[in-house]
Symmetry: C2
Subunit: 528 residues, 2 copies
């Protein structure tokens, strides 16, 4: 069962936001940001204009691309950022006792009214060295904001990128369900992972809270504990089920399933006594609760000798009453081999018992599905439940290219991105159809040649989302960002989308930025 | 700078708990727990007594041990667990429309008044297969609680175990600072990691929120961005510093540092012109803000030709005014080699300038310090900043040993644990000095021999922390749990503490539990 929910839009200032209180903890930062703040303040530099950029030095997971994500959480954090008296009191207790009391007075008035955020849209393709987010504002404040914004953008973008890679492997049609909550880094780690797995391309999550708070479609049926909690010796409780049509008398589903079990075992050459009666009782109980959404989890005992015939018995009993089972799930063993065998048995039974839809019911698989396993599975299966990998990878906050920058994506006539161009913000924007000389970014620092090209079209990458304390461009809904991600990925050339050894996507500098960087490198080499 | 804070105690029912609202989200669970709940309810089994156990099938990171952690978060979750009308409305929107409305009425009355939690104390040693936590209560509710309790215990225990391993490598004296917030799985992932790194043996965290909310000691000084934000051409702002004694006239620290730079460079055979003036300006600014807690971050430019002489210049200027610098930090390059060289230069300058304390100031290192790097560093350095690894490892919730169990740790006459004994709860407890026959747990399922032993002393491992909806044993403070962890680890034999290929710690079953298990295995093999 699965149902998309209304999306949680960013709410206007003042309205109730269930997450605002938790998100708005201004002390979510490293202590060294505050010790540096004291020193900036002491040096008379607190209000000096400053900017920092968040970008990937290398895209995660060996990708040529990343997905930009986490902007909504940043907006929520910034809008409500304030140091409450209790926060300042706590800070005073951990900073040296001789810290100037005027510093703490200064903190009392601190808010984001002087802060501006430029960022790539949520869900867009982000390449190495191109900023995902630029924060500008007073030096002291921007320094304090560095840690929370990194924390909010970094993990969200990693999870979204990982999900996008799994979606590329699975192809557009397969259903991908994330169910990693129990292994997540705490409740909020799980909430974030479920949210951004969806943004990156998963269809749904098992995490109910992600559904309630973030509008992620939720899905799920049953686990082994349910199956093994039935022994089969219980008296079936209220086993009567009315036909789907509403016409005709209710039948005892338990008895009906037992009679179908004999026919199924005969057809498949199995022994009915080898099937587990508790497993069948569990399937009957689940089918009674959800006759229109019955799914069998097959591997609590033996998939082929018990789980499968029990599923078929209940599914055919349901069919007799006019209901269609949803399918089965496998959670252990050789998933692909078993899925093949099960599909052929479904075909056989569909034909033998004249229930055509049985041939095509879904076979879902789960159990530590990573990119490698998914690659093997992807061509054969209808539906896959995976847990996106949560590898944390280095994301660097160090600014290597000088100056406040603008960024543009240049497209060829077919609409495929050619390269991303970084330039100084004050330079005139490039124009479609106009020849342009650019300098491909050479990370190794060596000298490289300029490139001349004429983009068929282009778009600016960084938009102002937050200006002087106000959200000035609404963040699209999560589902809209998810669509943008898939659309952008769709335009990217296959050579960049390749998951292993992808061709690096080119990022280039304008003439002016290139000259500025060259000058800096030389002056550094010559010493101060 | 570092200061332990008052610990956040679990607050009595009704008092304000800043985290309660965020933690008490009853929908923090997998949807399949609710679909199963519908089916249990439909089958008349909602109130049937049930129990599940949380344990590690294999201890994480290849350890022979884990640390039990996360209990406090579980208590917080359970105490406030309630499905609010909005939660139930949301559930109704994602479950099939024909779900019996009486099910949702049943959910309205659901709370933890029928739930009992037995658990190993926070911070205690937990071995594979011995439950960290046992939850008993009505089947439907216990099923819903499975995911959030796993989520809360699993990650906390992983982080604590990882921290304990790093502490074993570093030895008891070295200072370990966790600073992983910016790479964490979102804000709460970071909060949890900082909290349980401390419990597992770290000294402090850079995460200010973990200090404020959880009482973790916080520490931190400055980052590269601070150093590089000074060019050196700025006019020093308010550079006058009064002597530490309060006696005598303030001096211009900037000028003083410059004059010391000449002497330092002469002593070390360096050229003062090669040092970066911006770096020195940053050090002076930081020293003016924190004259009693000055630390130099050495690797923004060149450690040996700029960072170190600049640090020494400022440290010696401070010394002239009666202040002692805290030390230096290295964040790149060959940390060990550099630390050696720096220590020898400190000795040389301490002697040359007659500032004895300079010889022994701390050399802190950071930058992706994992177990391997730490092993190399541990013998040489005073203080290490690391980021505990956040590997998620399989934690299984599947119950393989039947029945409600009691667990005891048996000790030899020297107070070292010999083995953990699992038995049925109804069996009489073993006694110190009394001979006992036990069956070592054979995970492979093969037959193994019984063992006879006489424990010198023993202790029960599982205590009742929550009974019928009430917290019935206070959770010790975080710092107390941290002490318990180190004390328990101290008693464990070195062969089990070895980080690579440790000798597995033995877990054994009582005669009765062993017989019960054997019977079950046989009946499974014979089929139902």
């Amino acid at each position: 069962m699965e149902k998309a929910q209304a999306k949680l839009e960013l709410q206007p200032e003042g309205e109730q936001d269930p997450e605002a209180e938790a998100a708005a903890r201004a002390l979510l930062t490293d202590l060294y940001q505050f010790t540096m703040a004291v020193a900036y303040w002491r040096a008379g530099r607190a209000r000096e204009p400053a900017e920092f950029e968040l970008f990937f030095r290398r895209c995660p997971f060996g990708s040529s691309f990343a997905l930009a994500a986490g902007l909504r959480d940043c907006m929520r954090f910034l809008r409500t950022f304030r140091l409450r008296p209790a926060d300042i009191k706590y800070l005073a207790s951990v900073l040296p006792p001789d810290t100037d009391p005027e510093f703490f007075e200064y903190l009392q008035g601190l808010d984001c009214s002087g802060v501006t955020i430029r960022a790539q849209p949520e869900g867009s393709l982000a390449f190495a060295h191109v900023p995902l987010l630029c924060v500008s504002g007073p030096l002291l404040l921007v320094q304090i904001l560095e840690t929370p914004l990194l924390c909010l953008i970094n993990y969200a973008s990693l999870v979204a990128t990982n999900a996008a890679r799994l979606r590329l492997i699975a192809g557009p049609e397969k259903r991908l369900l994330e169910m990693g909550l129990r292994r997540a880094q705490g409740p909020d780690g799980g909430l974030t992972a479920s949210t951004y797995s969806y943004l990156g391309g998963f269809d749904s999550s098992s995490n109910v809270l992600a559904g309630q708070l973030r509008g992620v479609p939720v899905a799920g049926t049953l686990a082994h504990s349910f199956v093994t909690s039935f022994s089969g010796s219980e008296q079936p409780h209220a086993p009567m089920l009315a036909p789907a049509s509403g016409q005709g008398l209710p039948r005892d589903l338990s008895t009906l399933a037992k009679s179908w079990l004999g026919k199924v075992c005969e057809c498949l050459g199995l022994r009915a006594e080898e099937t587990h009666p508790g497993e069948r009782a569990a399937f009957v109980a689940y089918a009674l609760a959800f006759p229109k959404a019955f799914q069998g989890l097959l591997d609590s005992y033996s998939v082929m000798r018990s789980g499968l015939p029990n599923f078929l018995a209940v599914a055919l009993a349901l069919a007799e009453l006019g209901y269609r089972a949803v399918g089965v799930r496998l959670d252990s063993g050789d998933l692909l081999q078993q899925a093949w065998e099960i599909r052929s048995i479904f075909r056989k039974c569909a034909s033998r018992f004249q229930v055509p839809w049985l041939e095509a019911v879904s076979i879902a698989v789960s159990n530590n599905i990573d990119e490698k396993v998914l690659t093997r599975l992807a061509r054969k299966l209808v539906s896959v439940r995976g847990q996106p990998c949560r590898k944390l990878t280095e994301d660097s906050e160090k600014q290597t290219l000088p100056g406040t920058k603008a960024a543009f994506r240049l497209y060829d006539p077919e609409g495929a991105p050619i390269l991303d161009l970084l330039q100084l913000e004050e330079e005139p924007a490039p124009r479609a159809g106009q020849e342009l000389r650019v300098w491909p970014l050479d990370v190794s620092g060596g000298d490289c040649r300029s490139l001349t090209l004429t983009p068929a079209s282009l778009e600016p990458l960084l938009r102002v989302y937050f200006h002087l304390g106000q959200v000035c461009e609404p963040i699209p809904s999560l589902a809209e960002s998810r669509t943008l991600a898939q659309k952008s990925l769709g335009c990217l050339s296959p050579s960049h989308k390749r998951l292993e050894h992808p061709e690096p996507y080119q990022v280039a500098l304008s003439e002016k930025l290139h000259a500025l960087l060259k000058g800096l490198v030389q002056s550094n080499q010559e010493g101060p």
